[in-house]
Amino acid sequence: MLTKKQNLIDLLSRVAILVVVVAVLAIIKTESFWTVENIRQVVFQQAPYTILMAFGMSLAIISKGIDISMASVMVLSSYLSAKFFQQGNYILGILVAAGIGVGFGISNGLLISKIKIEPYIATFSIDFIALGLAYVVCNGKYIYGFPAGFRSLTNGSLIFGFPNIALITMAVFVLLYILTRKTTYGRGLYSIGHNKEVARLSGMKVDQILLSVYVINGVLAALTGVLYLSRLNAADPSIKGSLTMDSIAAALIGGIPFGGGKGSVLNTVVGALIIIFIRNGMNIMNISTNWQSAVVGFVILFSILYEILLKKLMIALGKKKEYM
């Protein structure tokens, strides 16, 4: 009971932050920020990429790990698959992208679950390898111009008002949410996050689950890569940008602690939206980009202090009866 209540409160507190951010922006920049067009753009066109990546990061963190390599895997997979999409050979393109994603996912997974290397250091070196290979492959030649059909993957919209990219993200979200919260697999995942030993001694397939987490991350990375291809109409190593940091930040702001076993992909969405809205707002207000990371930092700091306050409040309310 307590845990569930706790989670709910955590989540609500994050939502509150989001609301505050949006409200502030809406008030000071009503005409340009608080427009359907802008909100649609931020939520449906800019946020999805960060959100998708942050999903992966969150899964890793929930299992008491971390995945530094996702962004690089994304770059590599988008590069290797670009040519095929360009030739309109979608199936092959998807296969290649997925292949890269799964491949690196398995590498990460095996290193962490079987060889038992610190997730941080394992994914750190995989990150080097993936990005390095991306450089090798790209070698300065950007791949540009994709068939309209492929572009419509992100630009077009099957259901009016909902760009496909948004639909895809929602689909992924629903899938992941059900997978993590409603299935035995998800229960296993959280158990591992809380206490790997107990999970193992309870006959859970710890290694397989861990492996699967990183494979999912790989696939998510590949997906994001392909979507970027479609959005930017080009394969470009600079898309890595600050995605790793952003997705970690999204998880943290969303309220997924590195302790493992807590939070859900719902938190991730909230966290990601907070960051993206801050970015959007600062652009709109034409504040120098230099300020962005500082502001994000302050928001994170604020969010935790605020969480502590809530916890204190709850205890004060004396919900918790302790057996000695």
Binding site: F33, E37, K114, G241, N283
Partner: protein, 326 residues
């Protein structure tokens, strides 16, 4: 046992990927150490190995090396992130002292931070040819090869404003914070703005030379300044990002976009009329000339202290022809 197995799988996967990728770069991998004995060693240090611009600089340099009979090695930082790139350039420069290069062609990430190591080269009396981006202390190099990023920015901006009919609002999209080229080009553009009283800069934001970020930034800016008429970008990647953003807003044609460097993607976009103007820095020529200058130096020939590579404003008219007049 299991661990060994897992280890094997992982490594085999990595190796195969490596192999898969190796095809595309075998030519780079070959290192021209064979006839090192008699030929002059010229080390060309560039900013990175991912931007098309520097790839063709490298090609130009290598070509010059082969034609004029010098042993040219191109080195770039591994880390392309701003800042660390600079630190690694220093490292690379120091290594040229170790490997006793005869001459170094330097294209610094950071005009300031590179100076101390340039001093070291001076002490080791290895002559330096400064390429593309000026080193702040002009006693550190024998000659400068390249274009004035300032002029390039100025010319492009002018062309853009003319296209806009001498009036309207513009965005300026900067490159990575701290990058010299970006700083100079923006200066140039602003200088041009001075000359056009009816041109007004409404927003100035960085997009880290990245297409993706430019797209987001422009999308966001368009929200607050929907009535903008032109976008000045510090490189083509960002210009192309802006193109996508403008497309998405359905304003193609009504907003003129200018880039820099004239890479293939940008030229394609110009043909489609999506980018209005860019400017050709002729990277190949820059690379070539720099090595040429280096060889002259070593051959004790007279060298000018500035070889300006002509920049060329590229628009629909000359987009198909400009490359011929190298």
């Amino acid at each position: 046992m299991k661990k060994i197995f897992a280890l094997l799988i992982t490594l085999t996967f990595l190796v195969t990927t490596l192999a898969a990728c190796s095809g595309s770069t075998s030519k780079d991998a070959a290192n021209p150490k064979e006839e090192a004995t008699k030929q002059k060693e010229i080390v060309v240090i560039l900013k990175n190995n991912t931007a098309p611009f520097f790839i063709s600089v490298a090609e130009g340099a290598k070509a010059a090396g082969e034609e004029l009979g010098a042993n040219v090695t191109v080195k770039t930082p591994v880390e392309t992130a701003e800042g660390s790139g600079n630190e690694q350039q220093i490292q690379l420069a120091e290594e040229t002292i170790v490997s006793k290069a005869d001459c170094v062609v330097m294209c610094p990430v950071d005009s300031q931070a590179i100076i101390p190591v340039m001093k070291q080269l001076k002490d080791a009396n290895i002559p330096v040819v400064n390429l593309n981006t000026r080193i702040s202390d002009n006693t550190m190099y024998k000659t400068f090869v390249g274009l004035e990023n300032y002029n390039q920015g100025y010319d492009t901006a002018k062309a853009l404003f003319e296209g806009m009919g001498k009036k309207g609002k513009i965005f300026i999209i900067e490159g990575s914070t701290g990058a010299q080229t970006s700083i100079d080009r923006v200066k140039g553009a602003l200088a041009a703005v001075e000359e056009y009283p009816d041109i007004q800069v409404v927003a100035q934001q960085s997009a880290n030379y990245s297409r993706a970020e430019a797209m987001n930034v422009v999308q966001n800016l368009l929200q607050s300044y929907p009535d903008v008429n032109g976008i000045f970008c510090c490189n083509d990647e960002m210009a192309l990002g802006s193109v996508e953003a403008v497309d998405a807003a359905g304003k193609t044609g009504s907003i003129l976009i200018s880039g820099q460097d004239a890479n293939d993607d940008a030229c394609a976009a110009i043909r489609e009329g999506k980018i209005y103007v860019t400017s050709f820095g002729n990277p190949y020529m820059q690379g070539y000339t720099s090595v040429q200058a280096a060889i002259d130096l070593l051959g004790d020939k007279e060298v000018k202290d500035f070889y300006e590579v002509q920049t060329l404003v590229v628009d629909k008219k000359n987009v198909d022809t400009f490359k011929d007049k190298k």
